[in-house]
Amino acid sequence: MKAKHQRLTLVLLGLVALIGAGLMAAYALQDQASYFYTPSDIADKKPAAGVAIRLGGMVEEGSIEHSADGVTVQFTVQDGTARQLVTYTGITPDLFVEGSGVVADGRLDGNGMFVAETLLAKHDENYIPRELEGIDMTAGQHKTETLVQ
């Protein structure tokens, strides 16, 4: 192999590899592009049951219910327009409270219930999950008043 040819081969190999990477990424991102859902997104276009998605929104006031087994919670995530019922078995994050933001990884089951595998809540006053920025946190809070009454 001539010198010029070897360098050319290497450059071509590199290009092929990078283009391959781009195609692979594009292929893998196809499913991922719709990875993040708000309750409205789910209402608009329901993902198939069993597909891994990430759900983000606010925990509706008064919606957290603890099950008898002591480790499962059921709650409603809302974004001001739509609501989604979620169930989670596990230790809830430290700042998981009604009215706070939450990001959950999980899947929809056959009955339209979102089964969360991990929950991410607002950690402290400085931290909001990136996906939740700009979502109205006050929407749906009228329930507090009914609770107080």
């Binding site: 192999m1 010198a3 010029k4 070897q6 360098r7 290497l10 190999l13 590199g14 590899a17 990078l18 391959g20 990477a21 781009g22 692979m24 990424a25 893998a28 991102l29 499913d31 991922q32 592009a33 719709s34 990875y35 993040f36 891994a52 990430r54 603890h66 087994d69 002591g70 480790v71 078995t89 596990g90 230790i91 809830t92 430290d94 700042l95 990884d105 991990t118 950690h123 402290d124 400085n126 931290y127 909001i128 999950p129 990136r130 996906e131 920025e133």
Partner: protein, 645 residues
Amino acid sequence: MIAETGLIALWLAAALTLLQFALGAIGLRAERDDYYAAIRPVAVAQGVFVTLSFVLLIWLFLRSDMSVKLVAMNSASVKPLLYKFAGTWGNHEGSMLLWVTVMGLAGAFIALFERSLQKRTLVATLAAQAFISLGFYAFLLVSSNPFERLFPVPAEGQGLNPLLQDPGLAFHPPTLYFGYVGLSVAFSFAVGAMITRDVGPAFAKAMRPWVLGAWIFLTLGITAGSYWAYYELGWGGWWFWDPVENASLMPWLAATALLHSVTVLATRDGLRAWTLMLAVVAFSMSMIGTFLVRSGILTSVHAFAVDPERGSFILALLAIYIGGAMALFALRVGTVKEGSRFELVSREGALVANNLLLSVILALVFIGTLYPLLVEAVTGEKLSVGPPYFNLATGPLALLLVAAMAAGPLLRWRRDNPKTLLNRISIPLLVAAASLFALVIFTTSMSILSLLGLALAAGVAVASFAPLWRRNLRRTPLHTYGMVLAHFGVAVALVGMASESSFTEERLVAAKPGDEITVNKWKLQFGAIEPVAGPNWTALEARMTAQYGGGVLHEITPQNRMFAAAQTQTSEAALLTRWNGQLYVVLGDGDSEGRWQVRVWWKPFVPLIWYGGILIALGGLLAMIGRLRRGFQQRKQREFAEAML
């Protein structure tokens, strides 16, 4: 007074950096020997002054001088001393000052000890190094002065995020910074060599210790960061594909590729242009990593500073440095002569495969990390790219890379015979096949990736020692041992990863004191819940004992901590490490019936992930010591020969 002295030292250091750059730039143009001679002491003085400035900032933090804004915002007098110390760099300004300090020290070090490089290339390197530092000095002095005073002086500081109050995290950021800065030095060498058109083995040998050093620090930093996330977040996972984690992984991938290509350049004078390109990419990745973490663009636990002005400043620096380097590369790559050639089946060929695979993995992580940010910037639509993408995209390639790693060291330079390779690698192949066979028979429901991972790890563990086979062990150079150890470390880490993902057992219960919880062969006895207090927190602590089979009783105490200063709660997982795995216990909330949520994991062999990381770093250290010692000996011999003439 201390703050003012610190600021003056910082200004002086910045002025010296400007001088260092000017001496280099003008000196090279005019070919002035006196300028060349002056640049070394200037670089040393710059290092001294910037270090002084950083030491004074540490001093202010240790004294809890609340009249300094940075201290008041980020520290508290009630904090333990270690965290006051670490608080120096646990914030935006301090971490930037740490960055220039390490750069300044690196410049001083090169000026003092680098002797093998051509004089003009050295001068160009120091000038490039000064040019990079200048941007950071401007950043510090214009928009983020760490010594700014605060009036009126508050009585108490505003503390630090309690999640970050942890010995692991105290030293995690500086470790990564040493890595990033080491890559910036490698980048300066590459720019220096491009400017003087001196790309060859001598340049590669001068650059290699810096790449190795940076790579060791990055390896340690990523390992420590992963372990921190594992025990501090209480989720039981060890890698989350969080953008901040990716920000440290991308420079590591580039540095790993660079480390291997620079060896080809130093040993065989091949892959010249490619090595230059990788040096540029590696530094770009550390700048992008810093930008992602520091600009607050990610709004994540790690982004302490949320300030668009700073973000734009770093972005501008990013554009200037990366753009400039790419332009220089494009201009000069044509004049870089073709290196020596090699056959496809050869050590070089395997290293090219290593480099291609690493670059593709890097590109995939890069796209996955930046794509959501790009989409959000352009369309305003929010989306996230999560673990499913990263695992799918990088997992198979990583396994391929590990397979190449087993074969590479067994190949000869320049040209080899595929048949003899098959001979040499037959035993590792048998081991891998036997492991695969055993795993398929004896285990159920393992994922294909974990299955292949474990089998491959077994083969690689054997193959990594093959380079020592039938060699005189006393005459084998130290850097060969380093390579063996690092490659073995990869196999060890891979066993940990595959085992964690396949064999972890988990129990989640609401338990009352007095209850027993079993997972695998472990029996946990839940004794009581007691309140405890630390220096600046109070906690509820679960007293438990754990017993494996009929073995010894171990006490474990998972906690739920409340931090007074920040009104924040964190859960402290209890970990019990045994030779064959780790018991991981998290205490959750109590309910009205007196039950407490307890989550228990038994993770077989999970510590191997981090032991592997440490082995990899140790391998790097051995290689570095070996290379430095050999370089030193060769210089001695040369000087001796010259003296004899």
